[in-house]
Point group: C2
Chain length 352, copies 2
C-alpha cells in the first residue's frame, strides 16, 4: 500500500505537503526549499485554485529532470538599492526565488514605505496570489506579477503575441477577510478552454481566436489559436505593463523568448517576476487603515442586489471560504489533480 | 473682438494655454498654479483626449466659485518617509497637488529605486496619463490612479457601487514612443455613453445596466443606470485596488463619500490620488532598458496582422501621433470643447 489511495478522499493539507516535500527531496531539493514550495502549492489548493496548486508539481519536477530548473540553486540578490532589488533565481525552484523576493520587498517596505523587487532566471511560480498574500499577512498591500510565454493575441494581430500575464494583489482588512485578486490578463484563463474541451463543451466566442484570427467557440481550435485579452485594448495594455515590469526590467526572457514551462523543451523558460509592497502605516495607524478597508468591504457587500443575486462577493472571498472548509474537512482534490499526484509519486518513488 | 472665434480653427497650444491661464488668474489662482494646470489640460488636448482636456476647465473654475476648490491653497507634504509620502492638497487645484506628488515620487525613486506618493483633500485631476508621463520624461516608469464617485455596478449588485476608477501608466522607450495607457476600469468611459446619447445612437449591451440592473442599449437610461466593469469580476477587482490605493490609504472620501466634481454640490469631492514610480536604472543602464522596451514594441508591431488590420498600435501610439500633428498644425478642438471654452471665457471675462 502506497497510501496514495487516500488522495481520493478529502486530504489534510499537512499530508499533501508531506507528499510534495517527499517528491521534491527525491528530485534533489534542499528540505527548506521543498517546504517553501509545498506551502505555496498546498495553499493554492486550499483556495480551491486547483489549476495552480499541487497539480503542477509533477511538471515542475519534470523541469528539474530536464535540466530546466536547478534543484540545488540558491537565489541571489544581485542588485540592491534601498527600495528596490533584483533577485537572480539561478533557475532555482521559482517558488523559492519568489518567496525570497517578496520577503525582501516586505522588509524594505516596512522600513521605507514601499518597495519593488524583481526576479530573473526563473520559471513558473504557481499562483501569483500566494506572494501578494505574504504582504497582507504582514499588514501591507502586496502586488505580484509574472510574464508567461505568448498565448494571447492583441488588437490588430491574429497569432499569439503576448502571454496571458497574471497579476495579483492582496489588501489586509480588519475583521473582514483579506481582499485578494489573482487574474490572467486574457478574457479567461487558458485552462478554462482546456477544461471545456475535456468536457466536450463549446466556449463563448469572446474567449479566443482560431489560427485565422476569427473568434471560435470550438475549444479544439485553441491548439493553433490565441486567447483574447480581457476587455480588448485595456487588457492588452495591462499585459504590456506586466511584461515590462516582470521581464523587460529584470533582464528576463521577453515575449517569444519565453519557453513554455509545460512543454518538453531543453531551455529554461526564464520568466521574470515582479513584486511590489506598499506599507499603509506610512499614512495612518495600520488598525485605522484596516478599519477603513472593512468599511469599504461592507459598503460593497450591502449594495442593492441584482435580480437573482443573493450576495455580492469581494475579490478573494470565495477562496477564503473554500480554505476554511478545506482546513476543517480536508481538501477535496479534483480527479485530474489526484491522477497527476499519483503519476508524480510513481515517477519519483514516493508514498503517502 | 474677443479673439475667441479663433478657437474654431486649429489653435496653437500656447494660445490655448494662455486662455486657460487668463481664466484661472481671474478665478484667483497663483500664476504658477495656473500654468501647471493649463499644461496638464492642453497636453491632454494635444493627445486628442478632448473629454479630459481644456473642456474641463470651466467645471473646475465653477468648483472654485462654489468653494469646492481653494484657488489660494498650497499642497503640503504631511507624511514623509524615504520611499513614500502623503500630500494634503488642501483642496488646491487638483492638477497642482498631483504634479507636486508625482514630482516628489520621481525624486524619491531616482534616489531609492521606487516610490509611492498619495494625495488627499483633492478633486478631479484630469487625465491620469499626464502624471504617469511625467515619470517617463524622467526615464522612469510611472503609474497614476484616482478614485471617483460611484458610477459603476459590481457583479451581483444593480446600482452604482464603485467609481469607474481610472489608472494610467507610462514606460519610456528609446527610439520608439513612450508606451502609455490611460483607462477607466468600466467597460468603456462614461463619456462614450453620453456621446452616443448626444448623437441619438444605441450602445452595445455590454456597456451599462439600467436602474433594474438589466443591460441596456438606450443611452438615455444611463441617468438611473450604472456602468459595467471592464471584463466583469476582473475590472471590478482592479477598481477595488484603485479605490484602496487612492482613497482608503490616503484618508480621502471612499465610494459613496465622494461627491461628483461635475455636479452642483457644496462639498468638495475629496477624491484621492496615488502615484508610483519605478526607476529602471536600478536594474540595468537606462539606455539598455529603453533598447529592451524598443525590442518589445517592435516584436508586437511586427506580429501577423488580423484580417482587415494593417497595423498594430502600442498603447499611447495614437495619442503621440495626434500630438505630433497638433503641434505642427494647431489643435483641432471639437465643437463641444470650443463651446465650453467660450462659455468659460464669458463667465470669467477673458479674451484670446
Amino acid at each position: 500500500m502506497s497510501g496514495l489511495e487516500s488522495l481520493d478522499k478529502p486530504v489534510p493539507p499537512e499530508k499533501l505537503e508531506e507528499l510534495c516535500v517527499a517528491a521534491m527531496l527525491k528530485a534533489g531539493l534542499k528540505k527548506k526549499h521543498a517546504e517553501i514550495t509545498a506551502r505555496v502549492l498546498v495553499s493554492t489548493d486550499l483556495w480551491g485554485v486547483f489549476t495552480h496548486g499541487t497539480k503542477q508539481l509533477r511538471g515542475l519536477l519534470k523541469n528539474i529532470r530536464d535540466g530546466r530548473l536547478d534543484p540545488k540553486a540558491e537565489p541571489e540578490v544581485v542588485r540592491d538599492v534601498p527600495a528596490a532589488a533584483l533577485v537572480d533565481g539561478h533557475f532555482a525552484m521559482p517558488m523559492v526565488s519568489s518567496t525570497r523576493a517578496m520577503n525582501l520587498a516586505i522588509e524594505k517596505a516596512r522600513e521605507l514605505g514601499t518597495a519593488f523587487v524583481g526576479v530573473t532566471h526563473s520559471g513558473h511560480f504557481g499562483a501569483a496570489g500566494y506572494y501578494a498574500n505574504m504582504a497582507a499577512e504582514n499588514d501591507m498591500i502586496g502586488l505580484s506579477m509574472c510574464n508567461v510565454e505568448p498565448f494571447m493575441t492583441v488588437p490588430g494581430a491574429k497569432g499569439r503575441v503576448l502571454g496571458t500575464n497574471p497579476i495579483a494583489y492582496a489588501i489586509p482588512a480588519g475583521e473582514e477577510p483579506t481582499v485578494f485578486l489573482d487574474i490572467a490578463t486574457s478574457a479567461v484563463a487558458v485552462s478554462k478552454v482546456f477544461a471545456a474541451r475535456a468536457r466536450g463543451e463549446e466556449v463563448p466566442p469572446t474567449w479566443f481566436v482560431d489560427a485565422d484570427g476569427n473568434p471560435s467557440t470550438d475549444p479544439s481550435k485553441i491548439d493553433d489559436g490565441a486567447m483574447l485579452p480581457m476587455a480588448g485594448h485595456k487588457g492588452y495594455g495591462i499585459a504590456v505593463l506586466i511584461e515590462v515590469l516582470s521581464a523587460v526590467l529584470t533582464g528576463s526572457a521577453v515575449m517569444s523568448e519565453v519557453k513554455s514551462w509545460a512543454l518538453d523543451l531543453p531551455e529554461p523558460s526564464n520568466q521574470g517576476h515582479a513584486f511590489m509592497v506598499i506599507n499603509p502605516s506610512v499614512f495612518m495607524p495600520v488598525e485605522e487603515f484596516k478599519t477603513r478597508v472593512d468599511a469599504m468591504i461592507r459598503e460593497i457587500k450591502s449594495a442593492p442586489k441584482a435580480l437573482g443575486a443573493t450576495r455580492i462577493y469581494l475579490p478573494g472571498e470565495m477562496e477564503w471560504e473554500r480554505r476554511e472548509k478545506f482546513l476543517k474537512n480536508g481538501i477535496e482534490l479534483p480527479s485530474d489533480v489526484v491522477a497527476n499526484l499519483k503519476l508524480m509519486a510513481e515517477e519519483w518513488g514516493v508514498e503517502l
